[in-house]
């Protein structure tokens, strides 16, 4: 990206730097993952100010509990996105948030956010339309519910009114489609 110099490290280098708590690791972490994590957070928490708070909380938690991450158990991003998702869910389910009346029906969020933020999608991802077309509507809806809205598959089954087994199958097929697409 031409507009700004961003730090990028390999995942191994980043993990090593994070372990040593080097200052450059914090910056690299932010440059490499803030947009992807914010994409998840801002689909769960619609209010921008609160979503930004959650993003900050996410980085603080990643930074402080990095000792809890084990590379053997999975990718760094998987660990981080689960932290971000859990913090975002905690936020919208907190009494505080509900009292502010800022919560919206979860199922409206993804479309709402996407309508609002189409313009900020990365230019190199012009193929996003293809990506969306790759997924069948029922695959996309279940994947987005679980990945971007923080539903458990049990809640998603309830929401969509389909059996648990079907949910699991559709979710798997959606991800299989993604794998094919990205490969």
């Amino acid at each position: 990206m031409a507009k700004k110099h961003k730090i990028s490290l390999s995942e191994e280098e980043l993990i090593r730097a994070l372990r040593n708590r080097e200052k450059i690791a914090a910056e690299a972490l932010y440059d490499m993952y803030s947009a992807s994590l914010y994409g998840v957070i801002s689909r769960i928490v619609v209010d921008t100010a609160i979503a930004e708070d959650v993003l900050q909380d996410t980085f603080v938690k990643i930074w402080n509990s990095f000792a809890g991450y084990s590379a053997e158990k999975g990718r760094l991003f998987t660990w981080m996105v689960n932290i971000a998702r859990n913090l975002a869910i905690d936020k919208i389910r907190s009494k505080d948030f509900k009292n502010q009346g800022k919560n919206q029906e979860l199922e409206n969020n993804v479309d709402f956010i996407d309508e609002q933020r189409n313009s900020v999608y990365k230019p190199e991802l012009l193929g996003l339309k293809d990506l969306v077309d790759t997924l069948k509507p029922e695959q996309k809806s279940i994947l987005d519910l679980v990945y971007f809205k923080g539903y458990t598959h049990v809640e998603a089954a309830d929401e969509l009114g389909v059996p648990l087994g079907t949910i699991k199958t559709r979710l798997r097929m959606a991800i299989v489609q993604l794998r094919k697409y990205f490969n």
Partner: protein, 273 residues
Amino acid sequence: MEDIKAYIESGILELYVLGDVSHEEKLEVEAMAAKHPAIKAELEAIERSLQMYAEANAVEPAENLKGKILNSLVTNLADDRIFGVKQEDKPEAKIIPMQGDRRVTIYKYAFAACFVLLIVSVVALVNAYRQIDQSNNQIAALQSQNQKIANTVSLKDSEIGVLRDASFKMMHLAGMKKSPASALTVAWSPVNKKVWIDMATAKMPANDKDHQYQLWALVKGKPVDLGVFDADTTSKDMKEMKSVEYADAFAVTLEPRGGSPTPHLDDLMVMGK
């Protein structure tokens, strides 16, 4: 191998990556992945595709957020002894002077407050002292005035007593050869043995400071001293003299100040009976 394929196709691995499994399921997946490379590879493929899906749906946060968040991490660094090496030299070096500063500031304000209080107190004290002094002077003045009035009232009482008392005889002493114009009224009560002279009606030439007038009673031909007085034209009072029980006549002579044991008849001013 059939088991592994079925396990993969059950969808549990996707749920594991999404963090949507129970603790037992999580341990089970991790155990299976450790045991079977195929499962580990499958997990990695799922993770990679979901990461790319997230990247495809990325939303750039506001630009000013980066500084804020990095600052909060760096602050955290300092708090959590992160930069361990540098932390060890004098960990509290920055805290001590700050506390000192604050204390000095507090003392500064406290001292200033005390000083202001002191000045205010001194001013108030001086004022109060002045007022008390003034009041004391006033009280003294009033007391002396009061005393004067009391004396006057008591004198006037006595004077009125003389006039009311029928036993008093008014005797008009007339001027003699040395001073024919002189006159003096003497009130004498043989019953009370009291003698008063009336200064209001006295006509005596002014005496100098070396001399005084002396009143005498002639008792069976002998002069008896009844005391001295000055010719005071401003006085409107009566003056009580020494007492005498019996007198044939009264006379006034001019004598040296303080009076004489016997009268100098050359200076006989007035006489009468």
